[in-house]
Symmetry: C2
Subunit: 174 residues, 2 copies
Amino acid sequence: MPDTPPPDPERLDPEQLAAYFALMEVGSLLQHAVDQQLRDEGGLSYTQFQILAVLGQAPEGQLRMTDIADRLVHSRSGLTYQVAQLAKAGLVARAPSADDERSVNVTATPQGKELLGRVMPGHVAVVRRLLVTPLNRSDITTLSDVLGRVRTHMRTTPPRSATPGRKPTTLRND
Amino acid sequence: MPDTPPPDPERLDPEQLAAYFALMEVGSLLQHAVDQQLRDEGGLSYTQFQILAVLGQAPEGQLRMTDIADRLVHSRSGLTYQVAQLAKAGLVARAPSADDERSVNVTATPQGKELLGRVMPGHVAVVRRLLVTPLNRSDITTLSDVLGRVRTHMRTTPPRSATPGRKPTTLRND
DNA sequence: TATTGTTATACTCTATAACTATA
DNA sequence: TATAGTTATAGAGTATAACAATA
């Protein structure tokens, strides 16, 4: 009784597609909404907000550039730019590391912490209004469980290299 | 024995926060991955890919600028820019509408359809590798169900206006 | 030699405002 | 007047490559 066709690696079945589309759309809309709120109420981009937030959670209240980049931004120069913006606004301070002269320690200034605190309520309100409201407690738990697993998998999976059968300039000799 | 503190609208409990963070991170990583794949294999941004995809799904194979903008991009001028890019690459064609002289009908050219078809397998592969693989069928169903509800709610919820207690220049008589 | 970080540069994308033309 | 769309413009963000300095 072959009622489940063999999984074609070239396609996604309707359920998988629906999950993918819903994820992308919800992520995009939520991102857009919080970005807007952060700009309106704090003059912060979402990336800048994330940097401040990550610094706030850091044990010593400080992180090296590399540490921040690994968690948030995709290129180093991009992080340098964003941290420079934050520093220009007096929201973070940079100091050379004591034990490794190459490193730069970034900390949130009092103004940075103050701004973060001032912006959080509105931020939370947006997340609550858009994401939390339509879900019950069980939905939330499920969502964080399932997406948590996906996140772990994504972090583990090699980005894009290691593609087997990929000869790097090895056809002929050109 | 009050073990459930009253829900503070100023905060999100750990489960809610976890769901929010997981959603944002997974959405961001997945977006980044597919964007990369589309650029590498088709020279398309994710937005451009979406435009082609939406045109492909359209009943007549054509949509007005407004129709596309409503589904995808956030500003009209942004859409004009993106469609212009696609047209410049010969992937879409624009034609004035017959029944409404103001409207512009956009269609995918044969090259556009060809490119879309050529890019889809890799696209699907990324989604499968990052999102589908770590989940079982039940997870997928749940995910699309829960996120589908969130999406519906987001589309319904007024963006940001209609803030109650917001007097639109109605103090005094102005 | 590998790692940390910055700089220079160029490019993509987005949004706002002003504008044209049609309904 | 309202709607559909474009243009001009300006700004934010990102990545790549070259670079300097330290481990």
